[in-house]
Symmetry: C2
Subunit: 204 residues, 2 copies
DNA sequence: AACTAATTAGACTACCTAGTCCATTTTAGG
DNA sequence: CCTAAAATGGACTAGGTAGTCTAATTAGTT
């Protein structure tokens, strides 16, 4: 019955990829539908046939990016001593948040937080909130084993993640002239893990 | 000799104030020169007579904001015990970075960091860098008095400030649905000061 | 009062924007 | 192979943009 020729899924993906790239790179206002079409090697009409409007496309693009580029697999973490575990997590966390993609989506979500609160909410839940929850679970385990003494695991989790993010991430965010070297970043992360462990060391 | 009627300094200030307000509120691309002129109750031509172009006006606006709204007077801090001192600084620091003005200038500098690196550099130096330096000086004093045991005061200063900023600030940045209450913020800040102090407690 | 530069409103250029329309071509399912 | 829908490109509307220009007005300095 349905002689419907279905819309080309490949084209949809091309459009979405181009939109994501351009929106995160240049922002919403500075990115035109014509440019997205050209970049996706597709006609403008096709863009409008897949996504009804610029706003719709923007939402779809950011939502997709929130799903795909804010990942940190805690299952991979092997639980040994707190120091080794936290250091490993810290390094992977830092690598993730300083990836081009994560930086780009962070930037635009923060900037458009007033205009598109549902998108920044989405980002916050997919990113910081989810990670904090996983981190808190981990800290509870250490606490239960008596390896750390943590009263409020959620607070502690956010403190840990913000410590690790800290200075080095901010310099990248602001694209400052003097960026920290890999060695300095390792030192900073290591120093933050140490601070955290001393601050939450079990009382004995 | 100069029969020049000098340009009205009041108008210049009006223009700058309007530009700052609109740029920080809506961003560079979405703010038009016509709107700035109207908002400043001035003709468009006058805007161009005071500031040659949109870019020039943008720079002037952000530069002015960096000077005026990222201030934290450390001289007011009375040095007593570390806990009281750091808690007082933490609270004032947090209040400053969550002010509308500081949030707005932070947002736009981060967003335009790629397009206007000199502006984000300016912000970074006027804000985070200056504060970190002052904080580090303070920590050195505590260290010298044997009240804290800090190896790298610069690291420690950034760690302290990022701990305090942490979760609560991020929720504001992303305009999330559930904001922390004043009480929760106080708890979080207090908990972060405690963590910092335990982590850098002198060894005895 | 006279001179001169600042300021004004508004027209104007040249260009970009989101979104629509339409005639044509491509393509995939039946 | 046929047909219906997808995709195309280009014209088009209606509106916004930065920046220039002009002629008239205002106001400070001498």
């Amino acid at each position: 019955m349905t002689k419907n020729r279905s819309k080309n899924e490949t084209k949809r993906k091309q459009i979405l990829a181009s939109a994501t790239h351009l929106f995160t790179e240049q922002g919403y206002a500075s990115t035109s539908m014509a440019l997205i079409a050209k970049h996706a090697d597709v006609s403008k009409q096709t863009v409008y046939s897949h996504f009804g409007s610029k706003e719709e496309l923007f939402s779809a693009a950011i939502e997709q990016k929130c799903d795909s580029s804010i990942l940190l697999d805690f299952a991979q973490v092997t639980l040994t001593d707190p120091h080794a575990t936290l250091l490993a997590i810290a390094k992977r966390f830092f690598a993730m948040i300083t990836s081009k993609e994560a930086l780009a989506v962070h930037k635009i979500c923060a900037f458009e937080a007033k205009s598109y609160p549902q998108l920044s909410e989405l980002f916050y839940q997919a990113g910081p909130e989810r990670l904090t929850a996983e981190m808190a679970k981990l800290l509870v385990e250490f606490n239960d084993k008596g390896l750390l003494s943590i009263e409020n695991p959620h607070f502690a989790a956010t403190q840990f993640l913000h410590l690790v993010k800290g200075e080095a991430w901010m310099r990248i965010e602001f694209n400052t002239q003097y960026q920290l070297s890999e060695q300095q970043i390792d030192q900073y992360i290591s120093s933050s893990v140490d601070l955290f462990l001393r601050g939450y060391a079990p009382i004995n």
